[in-house]
Structure formats: structure tokens, C-alpha cells
């Protein structure tokens, strides 16, 4: 018996040996040689990853009032093949989404596996949609149940103040990045860094505590603007009303602190609501204060006269014979309104805003000197305010000047600037002759709340403090009863400024058509704390800066002085005589009284 079984046992042993060898070989092949490939394949099948979107930083005003914030939102999506009964589903959820049932039904019907039902709804609305579907399904048999609704978590950019400061803030485009204004300029700081979550999953669900890697999203930084929401509101409201009332094309108001360059308000009209950019025409999405150029007109005389005073070619009381008309080369220049020949002082030329007078003052300097001063005031250069789309304006070099250039430059025509540049010019006079870089950014804070304020950029001295003081005194004459802008007076305060009523270049015909009415001023005149410019483009009817711009200046600056608690200085001005008559009177008084220089 035993003898008979031996060959069988041997045979079986051999067979199992062969089988085991094959297994071993395969094992070595799989585990030893192909291990990496299989591990990678397993990982590929198991590994899932998700993007954790970073929250975009807030934009606040100078006091921390939120002007732009990101809130959690849900995009409701649908798999149209799973809905089952689009009509019933649409009727159930349409009222929750603020849409009509047919509108929603259209989005639910079809064979698309992915379609949007509603974008940027609040999480509460998504919750109510979910429970509405649940309620709907309660009364239905399993095969007739409605499903296929999903939520896509996202962030929605919200501008609580609506159109207020829209042109400064800009907006966020569909891809979640800034499309204009500060949102665009500081997109990298605001956006933050998206995080990621890599995890093992099986059957569509994450396997808990399997080797997952979580890289937290880095929230964007919060930007604190120099804008004061309340002053911005008054400025916006007033410029809106004036643009509407005067039938103007557009208008801009800028309030600036001349010492720091901080912009407290920047309002443009017509504006738009950044909460709903899709309905805004693209022409309104710019920032007129920095991307719209115009010829300044009489506000430019401030630079001519500052240059002449600084160069000591005139004094505030130098007498000029100012006729209505003046012929120079092939061109005749004249003042706005007809008048007999005036005997004006330099201060009088500014107060009366005489073009002929400004030409006479300008002719006391070389072309290069005049251009050099304009250049130092920032003409032809970007202000550095940091808003997108800023333009430097047109400012030709002396060798490209025409015969009349020097004359037109003297009274503010023939070159162009932006409202921001114009405001900066006046801020330099207000800040004792030092022009500082206008700024909108007070500082930034990171996700941990560490606040870093913006570094102050060095200013440029344009004219001496003495010249600046004289100019301010002369500009008080503009706001006096004898000047062009008595409407800018604020009772109890000393106010200085200059009106501008310039011929406007119409780009459609490349000719002069219509006007640019402006008023730029500051208060208190003897210790300027606020500079404000008001620019109205192409008003119909009345087009004088003293009538259109000055009243807005008065309202906005009165409010700003109150809200910033800037009291009057209490110093009485010593008016500079505006014409020969006044000068004679003052001279008589001083001659009989103390020995004060004329």
C-alpha cells in the first residue's frame, strides 16, 4: 500500500511546488518590481483633492467702516437628468429664488448633467431650497422623487454702501479677481492664497483619518482706505445732484488732506453700483478722477502766478493794464466777459480770472521757466495715487510749442490734466509749497489683524512757503465778494480757491466744444486742512466754475470741517488790493498810519 502511494505524493508535491513557485514569482513581480506603479495607481484611485478658496480681504474706510466684503454664498447647480419633474420642482423653489416658475423650469429641463440654477444666493436660501425639495418629495413615490440639486460653495463680493465710492473701490469680475479700482490695483493683497485638501476617498466619500493633507487657505489682507465714508457720502450726493441739475456729462469731486496727501473723498458722477456691474455700461466703469483729462482753464493760472511770484518777476500788488483783448502773433486772446481796460494788481488778475492779465504775467518769464514750474506742480506726470488706468495728460515740451502755446499755458489752456493732478497742484499751495503724493491707502492688516500703515512718500518742494502763503492770501480774494466764487464762502472760516471755466476738447470732433467748469479751494485758508476740487464736464446752460463748483465745495467742506472737528483759526485776513483804486486807498491808510509795506 505505502509503496503504491509514494509516486502520487511526489507528484502532488511537485505540482504544489510548481504552483507555489508561480505564486512566488508573481508576488515578487507585483511586490518587488511593479510595486511603485501599483502604489501610484492605488493612490490615483484613492486620492482626491479639493481647493479651499481663500476669503478675499475687506476694504474699509479710514474709520474701519466696511465698504467691500466677501460673504459666504452658494451657487445652486442641477443635474437636469435627475430632476424628474421640472415643473413641480420649479414651482416649489422659484419663489425662494425670487424668480418665476417658468424661468426656473427652463433651467431644470434638459439633459445637461451640470447647469446653474441660481448664483450667489445666501446659505439660508440654499437651506430653504433643500427643505422645499424634501417637502415636495414627502408626497411622492420613490420613482417620482425630485433630486439632482447641488450646492457649490463660493464667496460673494458685497458692497454694503452700494454706489458710494464705486469708482475708488472698483468691482470683482466673474473669476473672483478685481476688475477695476482698488479691487484691481491691490488684487494680490486682497485675494489671499487658496488652500488645498488632499484626502483618500472610497466610494465618493472621504475615508476618515486616512492620510489627508490640509493646507489651510490664507485669507486676503484687509485694506484700509483714507476715504471717510461720511464725507464721501456728502461729496457723492452733491456731485450726483449737480451733474443731474446742470445736464453735465460727468462730474468729479475730490477731498484731500494737503499735508499727507490722504484722499478723504473721491466721488464721480454718474456712478454705478458695484453690486451689479453686469448692467453697467463699460464707459461708466472707469475712474474719471484719474483717467479723464481736460484743460484746466483758469485754475491753471494759480501755477502761472505762483511761478511769477517765486521768480520775483511780480509782487501781489504789481499793477497791470488789462484790456479786454490782447493780440499776440496771429491770435487774439480775450477775457470771458467784455470790460473796459482794468488796472488790476496781480491779486486782482487772479480774483477776476483775467486771461489777458495771466498772459501778461506769463510773459515776464521764459517759456522754459513757465514749463518747468508747471512740471514741478506735477503736470504731465502720473500722481502716483495708485489707481488703475491713470493718465498723465498732454504736456508738450517747449520745442514743440506753437507760437501761442506760452500764452494759452499762462491761462490754463493747451495742456491737459486729470482732476487728481489739479487737486494735487492746489494741495501743494495749501501745504506751504510742498507737493505730496496723493494716496488712498491708509494701511493693510493681515489675517491675524496685524495692521501696517502705509509709508508716507516724500514730497517735492514746488514753491517757497512764503510764495505759497502769498498765493493763499490772493486766492482768498477769489472767494471774496469781488471775486468769481463768493458762493464758496463758509461763514466764520477763511476760504481760498480758484474757479475754472475752460473750453473743453470734444474728442468726437477733436475741437473745442462745451466747457469744463471747476472750482478748487481749501479751508481754512490760513492753515489749510482740507483741499477740495469739483470738476463738472460739459454742463448745459450755466457753465461757470464759480456757480457750479463753488456751492458744492461749500456744502462738502462745511460738512467735512464739522465731522473732522476743524475749528476756524479766528485770524482775520488782510486782503490784498485787487486793483489800482484799492491799492491807492490802502497806501493812503498805511502812509498815514504805521509803516507797513504796501
Amino acid at each position: 500500500m505505502i509503496k503504491d502511494m509514494r509516486p502520487r505524493i511526489r507528484g502532488l508535491f511537485l505540482v504544489s511546488l510548481i504552483v507555489m513557485s508561480i505564486f512566488t514569482a508573481r508576488l515578487v513581480q507585483v511586490q518587488g518590481f511593479q510595486a511603485d506603479a501599483y502604489a501610484a495607481r492605488a493612490a490615483r484611485e484613492l486620492r482626491s483633492s479639493a481647493t479651499l478658496p481663500a476669503v478675499r480681504g475687506d476694504i474699509t474706510d479710514v474709520n474701519g467702516v466696511v465698504l467691500a466684503r466677501s460673504v459666504e454664498a452658494v451657487n445652486i447647480t442641477v443635474d437636469q437628468t435627475l430632476v424628474g419633474d421640472p415643473t413641480a420642482a420649479a414651482e416649489a423653489i422659484a419663489p425662494l429664488l425670487g424668480l418665476t416658475a417658468p424661468e426656473v423650469a427652463l433651467k431644470l429641463t434638459g439633459i445637461r448633467r451640470f447647469a446653474y440654477v441660481a448664483k450667489n444666493v445666501t446659505p439660508q436660501i440654499w437651506d430653504s431650497v433643500k427643505s422645499a425639495i424634501l417637502d415636495l418629495n414627502k408626497t411622492r413615490s420613490i420613482e417620482k422623487r425630485v433630486s439632482g440639486f447641488y450646492a457649490e460653495k463660493t464667496f460673494h463680493r458685497e458692497y454694503p454702501a452700494g454706489p458710494l465710492a464705486a469708482s475708488v473701490l472698483g468691482f470683482v469680475n466673474a473669476s473672483g479677481h478685481g476688475g477695476g479700482g482698488i479691487e484691481y490695483a491691490l488684487d494680490r493683497s486682497l485675494a489671499g492664497v487658496d488652500g488645498s485638501y488632499i484626502f483618500d476617498s472610497g466610494g465618493g466619500a472621504a475615508i476618515p483619518s486616512a492620510n489627508d493633507v490640509l493646507v489651510a487657505a490664507k485669507p486676503g489682507r484687509t485694506i484700509r482706505l483714507t476715504i471717510n465714508r461720511d464725507i464721501q457720502w456728502v461729496a457723492q450726493k452733491e456731485i450726483d445732484a449737480q451733474v443731474k441739475a446742470s445736464g453735465a456729462l460727468s462730474g468729479t469731486a475730490i477731498v484731500m488732506d494737503p499735508q499727507t496727501g490722504a484722499i478723504l473723498a473721491l466721488a464721480s458722477a454718474p456712478g454705478y453700483d458695484p453690486n451689479d456691474v453686469s448692467k453697467t455700461p463699460i464707459s461708466l466703469l472707469g475712474i474719471p478722477a484719474v483717467d479723464e483729462v481736460y484743460e484746466p482753464g483758469s485754475t491753471g493760472k494759480v501755477m502761472t502766478l505762483s511761478a511769477a511770484l517765486e521768480e520775483k518777476v511780480v509782487t501781489p500788488t504789481t499793477i497791470f493794464n488789462v484790456p479786454y483783448k490782447l493780440k499776440r502773433g496771429d491770435r487774439t486772446f480775450h477775457d470771458d466777459e467784455k470790460h473796459a481796460t482794468w488796472q488790476l494788481t496781480t491779486a486782482g488778475i487772479l480774483a477776476k480770472s483775467s486771461n489777458v492779465g495771466a498772459i501778461q504775467v506769463g510773459e515776464k518769464m521764459s517759456h522754459a521757466t513757465l514749463r518747468n514750474y508747471l512740471s514741478r506742480f506735477g503736470i504731465g506726470q502720473l500722481t502716483g495715487v495708485g489707481l488703475p488706468g491713470e493718465t498723465a495728460g498732454l504736456f508738450l515740451p517747449v520745442d514743440k510749442w506753437s507760437q501761442s502755446s506760452a500764452r494759452t499755458f499762462a491761462f490754463g489752456q493747451g495742456y491737459s490734466l486729470t482732476a487728481m493732478q489739479a487737486t494735487s497742484v492746489f494741495a501743494a499751495v495749501a501745504n506751504d509749497g510742498v507737493r505730496v503724493v496723493p494716496t488712498l491707502i491708509a494701511g493693510m492688516s493681515d489675517a491675524d489683524g496685524h495692521y501696517t500703515s502705509s509709508a508716507m512718500r516724500p514730497g517735492v518742494r514746488v514753491i517757497s512757503a512764503e510764495t505759497a502763503r502769498t498765493m493763499r492770501l490772493m486766492m482768498e480774494g477769489v472767494v471774496s465778494a469781488g471775486g468769481t466764487a463768493p458762493a464758496a464762502q463758509i461763514v466764520g472760516y477763511r476760504v481760498a480757491g480758484k474757479t475754472g471755466t475752460a473750453n473743453r476738447v470734444d474728442n468726437t470732433c477733436s475741437c473745442y466744444r462745451g466747457y469744463t467748469a471747476s472750482f478748487i479751494g481749501f479751508a481754512p485758508a490760513d492753515k489749510p486742512a482740507l483741499v477740495m476740487s469739483v470738476t463738472i464736464q460739459d454742463p448745459k446752460g450755466i457753465h461757470f466754475g464759480g456757480l457750479l463748483g463753488a456751492p458744492i465745495f461749500k456744502k462738502v467742506i462745511s460738512f467735512a470741517l464739522k465731522s473732522l472737528s476743524i475749528p476756524p483759526t479766528g485770524q482775520a485776513p488782510t486782503p490784498i488790493p485787487l486793483d489800482a483804486q484799492q491799492l491807492a486807498k490802502v497806501s493812503a491808510v498805511t502812509a498815514s498810519g504805521s509803516a507797513v509795506k504796501p
Binding site: P123, V234, K237, I490, Y493, S558
Partner: protein, 143 residues
């Protein structure tokens, strides 16, 4: 002198150490195995299965605790989401109510008017700084 000297007989070469005597083999007193009871197969099975059951129970407990934590976590996360949504909704209302537009409208409805010229009261001297005057119209609420 004799060339050959006899070896010093007084110094004999040391002899090899005598080998230690081996203990002689002898019979131990008879060893008798302690009579032991062989483990009953039932007890062994009980012990093993109770370890198994206990282990399973502990595992279940741990799992339950973990799952419970997950449930708590999920509930709390939902709570946070609800509260965040609520906070955002309330913030939106606060923003709307505290906006300058809404305040100006409400102030006007209350019959309030905005002052025209800024006037200050110096608390140190008790003097009024500025030029106080009567406000005739509402500056801010007119559109």
C-alpha cells in the same frame, strides 16, 4: 672538571597537575512528574472567546466614541455655518440701517435739519468758535 654534570636532582620538573576527579554518576532520587490536570478544552475556548468578545467590544466602543465625536463635530460645524449665515444677515441689516443715506432719511422724518456752518464750543474758555446762524433748510436730505 667533569664535562658532564648530572642534572640537578634537587629540582625535579613539575609534574602535570592531577586531573580533577569527575563526579561519579549516580542515580538521582526518583523524580516523579507532578501530576497535573490537562486544561479542559472548554475553558480554553471560553478564555479565548471572551478575549475576542472583549476586544471587539473595546473596538466598538472606540469606534462609537470616534463616530460620536464626528457627529458632534458635524453638528457643531452646521451650527457654525448657521451662525455665520445669521451674522452675515444681521450685519447686512445693520449696514443698511447705519448707512448715511438711511440715517439722513430717518433724521429728516424726525424733523431734524443739518447745520450749515460749523460752530465749535471751546470747553476751556466757554467761548463759541465760528459764526452760529440759523439753519433754514435741510442741506443733506434734499435730493
Amino acid at each position: 672538571m667533569a664535562l658532564l654534570q648530572p642534572l640537578n636532582p634537587s629540582k625535579p620538573r613539575p609534574l602535570a597537575k592531577p586531573k580533577p576527579s569527575r563526579p561519579s554518576l549516580r542515580l538521582l532520587p526518583q523524580l516523579r512528574p507532578i501530576p497535573s490536570q490537562p486544561a479542559k478544552p472548554v475553558t480554553f475556548a471560553v478564555i479565548l472567546s471572551s478575549i475576542l468578545v472583549l476586544g471587539s467590544l473595546v473596538l466598538l466602543l472606540i469606534n462609537t466614541l470616534l463616530a460620536q465625536d464626528a457627529f458632534v463635530l458635524h453638528r457643531l460645524q452646521q451650527h457654525v455655518a448657521t451662525l455665520t449665515a445669521q451674522e452675515q444677515a444681521v450685519t447686512a441689516i445693520t449696514d443698511r440701517e447705519s448707512s448715511p443715506d438711511s440715517l439722513a432719511t430717518k433724521a429728516t422724518l424726525l424733523g431734524m435739519v443739518a447745520g450749515e456752518t460749523p460752530v465749535f464750543l471751546d470747553l476751556n474758555t466757554g467761548k463759541v468758535v465760528g459764526a452760529p446762524g440759523k439753519t433754514t433748510k435741510n442741506l443733506l436730505a434734499t435730493r
